[in-house]
């Protein structure tokens, strides 16, 4: 009984499926909401950087050297290219091809590890300390913000990969893989403006 009211049965839901993919899935909306939160965080950090940049006559201030282009270029290239296997992975998820999904996740994990390696060297070549001046602080803020997303994404991918290889895979897990892949795309997209802001805007100014 629902309270004191008489019920009138007008339909039955038993025939509905018990899972769904993409935007039909409830979890997809949670994932997209967290992207909105973090995207806002990125946008505000970029806004803060632009604000400080606009306040100071020189960016970087005289005496600071520009961040190195080598390792960052390699990182950026690798990151952007990683979208190709990522798109392939999403297609395999839609096709529900378990073996290829497992393989795709393994590849993405390895790519993630490689990217962390590149990022490590990239951070060595920022050529400014975070405590040196506001320019240094801003650069490091943007880098730390993005690196933390790469690390989080890598851990999630790695854990999911291990799980996929050791367990029976159901539709819910395919949904998880898709959310994970979507998130990877988000991490790539977030890097583009940060890369320009950290490495190229100071050179163009």
């Amino acid at each position: 009984m629902n309270g004191e009211r008489a019920l009138r049965r007008v339909g039955d839901l038993a025939g509905l499926p018990t899972s769904a993919q993409g935007p039909r899935n409830l979890v997809w909306w949670g994932n997209i909401s967290f992207m909105a939160i973090e995207g806002t965080g990125f946008a505000l950090a970029i806004g803060a950087c632009l604000y400080l940049l606009g306040q100071s006559p020189h960016w970087p201030p005289p005496g600071d050297s520009l961040p190195g282009l080598g390792w960052s270029g390699a990182f950026t290239l690798a990151l952007v290219l990683s979208e190709l296997p990522n798109l392939w992975l999403i297609r395999q998820v839609r096709a529900k091809s378990i073996a290829r999904v497992r393989l795709g996740m393994l590849v993405m994990t390895l790519i993630g590890i490689a990217l962390i390696g590149l990022r490590w060297f990239e951070l060595q070549h920022l050529n400014v300390g975070w405590d040196h001046d506001a320019y240094g602080s801003t650069v490091w803020m943007l880098m730390v913000l993005h690196t933390s997303h790469v690390v989080t994404e890598l851990v999630e991918t790695a854990v999911l990969t291990v799980w996929l290889y050791t367990h029976e895979v159901g539709d819910d897990q395919l949904g998880d893989v898709e959310d994970d892949a979507d998130y990877w795309t988000f991490v790539i997209l977030a890097w583009v403006p940060i890369y320009l802001l950290v490495y190229w805007v100071p050179r163009w100014l």
Binding site: M1, N2, G3, E4, R5, A6, L7, R8, R9, V10, G11, D12, L13, A14, L16, P17, T18, S19, A20, P23, R24, N25, L26, W29, G30, S33, F34, A36, I37, E38, T40, G41, L44, A48, Y51, L52, Q55, S56, P61, I98, A99, R102, W130, D131, H132, D133, A134, Y135, G136, S137, M141, V155, W163, Y165, T166, H167, E168, V169, Q173, D176
Partner: protein
């Protein structure tokens, strides 16, 4: 549903008994109730701080408190009211009401709801435990650098404040994501967006605003902590930083926050007006448009908190006009509510009294808001008692009065008992009367030059009489608050049994039992009207949700067409553990930056275990168990 099935359904949704059940519950009603109890306790503490401060100010040159105690009192009062009460209590109301109003069995992400509460509790302890130990933040509810920076705020007081915010904002963001997903994807069949009750619109808008506003404060306080902990230079002008950056980011959050608190209150008022006027809300569409307009406009106004910092005058004119513009949607809402009463048959029970008190009080706050929105006039008003009066009219008159109304309105649903109407009226008169007596004189005090946040003033300033009146008024309002709480507590066992629908209300939550069972509804209600319970005497339902496992119905975003039956996760200790691990990291990060690195590991482990899917071992692939 057969008795057998019913029993199975109960068993599936029941919590485990004992401590583990307590810690692991994912029942949205239980979680929301914890929020409410915590908030009521904090309201009491925060009110006592207010009374303490009012006594100190009641006459010139009082020596009850020294500057340090007073500064701690207003910092603690403001931070608690804004971060630990106003925003969380609105989330709590959403957590409790949204699934019930949707005819759903639980929130979209039940464990996330539990995590929200535990982390919020961490934030409460983060502020109040150090206070008990004598380490209280003492710089107000917004702590501008450089006063809050490493050089002028030695020690950990400012860190505690900043991390308390991180705690509560993470909790609030998690709750908002939950509410958004639930409202968008778990509406019952037939509840298209056009038929969605206004309250749900309000909660949807408030949650979306939360998602876009709160990252700003988290970023601002994180930068502040970085300045204090690892010597970054964001707010050090001598190293190219800028102290105003903090103010911009704080108010980019701070202004929408006011509406994040107010918009749910608009939802409460609309629900109450509708039920007690015995007609659906007049102007449903304009009302929805008006809160959407508020939601958008609120993000464009933050600079009106900063008129006195010396920004370019052109910007001042723009922000003046934009800030005043928000009076239009708010004014239209007023019209719609009064028009609903005008054209209905109002029954003046306590919830509706609160609405009337709300309108009469909040409009004053709105109009004083128009005054402070004017850049040149604001130069006289900002940082004075005029603003203190304004913000209390807006937050207490505009959000707490509707909340008290909502409390009286949904109390019978939550407890199964009615509150005493007589004592309800007494509390109403004491609170509304005392509040207006206490806070209206502050407008005049501000105009007479009394700045805010001063712990004392000289006898020659001539502010004594009005301050004494303000103190008396606040004490009366506090007394009313105690009557209200006492009424609620006593009614728990002395109140008349309420039945499912004591007010004859139109929305779905009144179709559930009072108090609702853990799974809320046995069958899925079907909605054919904006006022489903007024449309039919009986309730159209759909059967077929599982009774042997936790299942909720997921529908399409616009038209609420059933899409699939979603497995809803059960009780788990991991949200609690994850919140504990997160709290540990936040607390430790005050002392060393390495906490962020090492503290992430237990959090990661807790999250992995939280989300670990339980399925059989693999029979295929290279690692298969053969």
């Amino acid at each position: 549903m057969s008795p057998d099935e019913r029993e199975r359904l109960h068993a599936v949704w029941a919590d485990r008994p004992g401590l583990l059940g307590f810690l692991g519950t994912v029942d949205h009603k239980r979680i929301a109730a914890r929020y409410i109890v915590t908030v009521v306790g904090l309201l009491f503490l925060s009110g006592m701080l207010a009374i303490d401060m009012r006594l100190q100010l009641s006459q010139p040159d009082m020596r009850r408190m020294g500057p340090q105690q007073y500064n701690e009192a207003f910092a603690l009062h403001g931070s608690t009211m804004l971060f630990l009460i106003s925003v969380p209590v609105m989330e709590a109301m959403a957590l409790w009401l949204v699934p019930l109003m949707l005819g759903a069995r639980n929130m979209a992400f039940p464990r996330l709801a539990a995590f929200s509460y535990w982390l919020y509790l961490g934030g409460v302890l983060m502020l109040w435990l150090p206070h008990a130990l004598g380490i209280t933040p003492d710089l107000g509810w917004f702590e501008y650098p450089p006063l809050s920076g490493p050089a002028y705020s030695p020690g950990h007081r400012a860190d505690i404040w900043a991390q308390m915010i991180t705690f509560t904002e993470v909790a609030a963001l998690a709750a908002s994501v939950n509410v958004v997903a639930t409202i968008l994807k778990m509406r019952p069949p037939g509840m298209t967006l056009a038929r969605m009750p206004f309250f749900l619109w309000a909660m949807l808008v408030a949650s979306l605003m939360t998602i876009f506003a709160l990252p700003a404060i988290m970023l601002a306080t994180s930068m502040l902590i970085a300045d204090r902990l690892v010597s970054t230079q964001f707010f050090a002008p001598a190293a190219g930083g800028d102290v105003l950056l903090f103010q911009h980011m704080f108010w980019f959050f701070g202004h929408p926050e006011v509406y994040i608190i107010f918009v749910p209150a608009v939802g409460f008022v609309s629900s109450i007006v509708e039920t007690f006027s015995r007609r659906t809300l007049f102007g449903h569409v304009p009302m929805v448009l008006s809160i959407l307009a508020i939601g958008v406009l609120a993000f464009g106004l933050w600079v009106h908190h900063m008129f006195a910092v010396g920004l370019p005058r052109l910007g001042n004119d723009f922000y003046t006009a934009a800030s005043m513009a928000i009076a239009l949607p708010a004014g239209l809402q007023m019209f719609c509510w009064i028009a609903t009463m005008w054209s209905g048959r109002p029954r003046f029970a306590t919830p509706l009294l609160w609405v009337i008190g709300f309108i009469a009080t909040f409009v004053i706050g709105g109009l004083s808001g128009v005054m402070t929105a004017s850049a040149p006039l604001d130069l006289q008003l900002t940082d004075t008692y005029f603003v203190v009066a304004h913000l209390h009219y807006v937050l207490i008159g505009g959000a707490l009065f509707p909340l008290f109304g909502a409390f009286c309105y949904w109390y019978p649903k939550a407890t199964g008992r009615m509150m005493s109407e007589r004592w309800g009226v007494v509390a109403f008169i004491l609170i509304v009367g005392g509040f207006n007596l206490g806070f209206f004189p502050m407008h005049v005090l501000g105009l007479e030059g009394m700045p805010r946040r001063i712990y004392t003033y000289g006898p020659d300033m001539g502010w004594g009489t009005l301050n004494l009146v303000a103190t008396i008024g606040s004490a009366i309002a506090m007394l009313g608050g105690i009557v209200l709480t006492g009424n609620a507590l006593i009614s728990l066992w002395r109140g008349k049994p309420a039945g499912a629908d004591p007010w004859g209300a139109p929305t779905l939550e009144w179709a559930a039992r009072s108090p609702p069972p853990q799974h809320n509804f046995e069958e899925v209600p079907v909605v054919t009207s904006i006022a489903p319970l007024w449309r039919h005497g009986d309730l159209p339902v759909m059967t077929g949700l599982a009774t042997d496992r936790r299942e909720v119905l997921v529908t399409s975003v616009i038209d609420a067409v059933p899409q699939y039956r979603h497995h809803s996760v059960g009780p788990s200790l991991w949200p609690f553990v994850a919140a504990l691990a997160t709290s540990g990291m936040f607390v430790a990060s005050i002392f060393t930056p390495w906490a962020v690195v090492w503290g992430a590991i237990p959090i990661g482990v807790a999250l992995v275990l939280w989300f670990w899917p339980r399925r059989p071992r693999s029979a295929t692939g290279p690692l298969a168990r053969r």
